[in-house]
Symmetry: none
Subunit: 161 residues, 2 copies
């Protein structure tokens, strides 16, 4: 299941916001039915994915292995420590923790963007700023991506268009 699209929702005084319905159905149909939410490494935003996805990634990388005697710190530790495990309530909302709200500079409005296996939550200002730099005309810098994307798209079978 792939997160796609952009949605803008309100954040109330309690920090509550509705998870966009298409995202919600992905999460609630996952085994744990729960959400991993953490500060994005790349952007001034929050990143979310199914908790199962996060667990799979950490397991796959050995990050959650129990290395009692190992001297070296677990390099995934900062991620695990910063990750909130969240439950989506019946009406489709989550409560964004205060520290994450301030990390992403979110006050009364949150912009959700699908990013494939994960999604991001932005303040409108941060999103607008980033979107400008992400969406650019074809240049030497992004030409490679466009070609790759076209190649991948053409190799996908069974699509109606």
């Amino acid at each position: 299941m792939i997160f796609t699209g952009t949605f803008e929702n309100k954040v109330d005084g309690k920090g509550r916001t509705s998870v966009p319905a298409p995202f919600r159905s992905i999460i609630t149909s996952s085994p744990s039915k729960e959400l991993a939410l953490f500060p994005s490494f790349r952007y001034n935003a929050l990143e979310g994915m199914t908790f199962d996805m996060l667990a799979a990634i950490t397991q796959q990388s050995g990050a959650s292995e129990v290395n009692i005697f190992k001297a070296a710190p677990n390099k995934f530790a900062p991620l695990l420590r910063a990750t909130h495990r969240m439950h989506i309530e019946e009406t489709g909302r989550i409560t964004l923790p205060a520290n994450l709200l301030s990390h992403a500079s979110i006050a009364t409005t949150a912009v959700f963007t699908g990013e494939g296996h994960s999604f991001l939550i932005w303040s409108p200002e941060q999103f607008a700023q980033q979107a400008v730099s992400d969406i650019a005309p074809v240049t030497e810098a992004n030409e490679g991506f466009i070609v790759d994307f076209a190649a991948a798209a053409s190799s996908v079978q069974g699509l109606s268009s």
Copy 2:
């Protein structure tokens, strides 16, 4: 079950502290419903996990075998000797033993951090000093981690979400 997140709780004069609710539910839903607590080998902190997890580790490594006649020291012996088996009381608290409190330099406040299959208990000072708890923008220092994370994420297969 994966321990994630960071929580700060009070420690009273008797050494009592509340186990953060998300951690508590993992422990109380384990078969033994009990907790293994021991000094961390890595940090100036305490490490905890379900008692079943510790048992599984020692069994898997053969550390719990009865070697009455063997002269060679059991490498798990120091760990097993230092481990306290603890019961979480009805109200969700544990009493941290005095020797563990002093090992971790904990006085009136304890910081709990999820580390995957285990969690750590720090003094606020030790945590602030040791943990790079803030996930910073991309820099040379954390770039390696980000690449690893991306690689792990992209290699996760067969997820229903």
